[in-house]
């Protein structure tokens, strides 16, 4: 029962983030955004279980109750791509196994490094006071005169 509730929770989170991405992105990169969706939704699930570690409560009452195995999504982290397999028995995680990535899965992990739809709140925010230079401001001399870059240059003269 606990398992069912937990997985419903993950499903719900997945569905919500899916809806959220669909709402921000237009029609163009459908396949990309769906792969990003599954990554991010399962990503939250896997990282929490990964945090508990391999040694968590293994070998509790080895009775022949139903055990289910779930493959997590390949999650790109700053340590590289991580994918785990989680075995759940009696509502408890009994085993977390790192999976070897196949070439096909490596490919799908690569896809997650592609561009995905983002909200403004999801990119690094900055005010002109906190940056030292401005990209994309001034293609023409006239545009430069009224640009943020001109203000920065004047401030640093």
């Amino acid at each position: 029962m606990a398992t069912a509730v937990a997985s419903t929770g993950i499903l719900l989170a997945g569905w919500q983030s899916g809806a959220h991405i669909a709402e921000t992105g237009a029609s163009t990169t459908t396949s990309l955004s769906s792969s990003a969706t599954s990554d991010s939704s399962t990503g939250t699930g896997t990282s929490t279980t990964g945090g508990t570690g391999t040694g968590s409560s293994s070998g509790t009452s080895a009775k022949s109750t139903t055990a289910a195995t779930y493959d997590g999504a390949a999650v790109p982290t700053r340590f590289g791509t991580v994918q785990v397999q989680v075995t759940i028995q009696d509502g408890k995680i009994t085993e977390v196994t790192p999976l070897e990535l196949t070439d096909a899965e490596r490919k799908s992990a690569q896809i997650s490094s592609r561009a995905a739809p983002v909200l403004r709140s999801e990119v690094l925010q900055a005010q002109s006071a906190s940056v030292q230079t401005i990209g994309g401001a001034t293609v023409t001399s006239d545009a430069y005169l009224t640009s943020l870059q001109a203000a920065l240059d004047a401030a640093n003269f």
Binding site: V118, V123, I134, G136, D153
Partner: protein
Amino acid sequence: MQQTSKNQQLRARTFPSMGTVVGVTAASTAPAQTAVDEVESAVDVVEGIFSQLDLTFSLYRAGSEASRLDRGELTLAYASKTMQELYAEASEWRLATDGAFTAERPDGGLDLSGIVKAHAMREAALSLRALGLKDWCVNAGGDVLVNGSPEPRPSSPIHEPWLAGIVDPLDRQALLGAYPLRAMSALATSGSAERGEHIWAVGSTRPDFAQVSVAAPDIVTADVLATAIVAGGTHSLDQAVDKWGVEVLAVRRDGTMLATPGFRNAA
């Protein structure tokens, strides 16, 4: 706003070139007068490089080598080495991007101006390093190339990266976000928002993106790919990320955005 530490300062100087404004900002821990001397010698060198290349490549100067080539008074075989090399480089990029980047105008004429500014920045970087300057930022019409840090700490190997704001194409007085320039020390932005529709979309369709920013380890790659993505749309974006591993922030005409991980918050 008062700067917290007076022995760490940014000094900037600008000059007009190639139809836009080029700025050189240098960070220095040296005493004020020395810092001023440093930035002024830096900007002199950079301006020299830009002026020289502009004389050769400007299509707005009737007597330039590029104009003579354009009118057919000169053939590529007899052109200068720089002209030949840049033409070859542009041709390689055209092949590599499946034609999304091209130095040929729709009328068949040759226009290397798309790659000349980035080339000038690349040359400027070589000269600044040769001068022994470590912490600087060159901004040529919104394309950025940096070295070192805006807050150099000679005693520490860890330093703050230069932080580049990305202008909002729908409101040029606002920033969409920012990008910290580390190993990807170059940031180029192309768009159809300024200079009208100066990039021709492949198959003459309306471009997907109003503005595309590309961060790469070198400025020519960043600049070429930003142009290619504006022209080639989502297909070119995916190709650029797969093939060259660059970071991209692309803004669609309706203001929605696509971003690779490096442009997202957590990065």
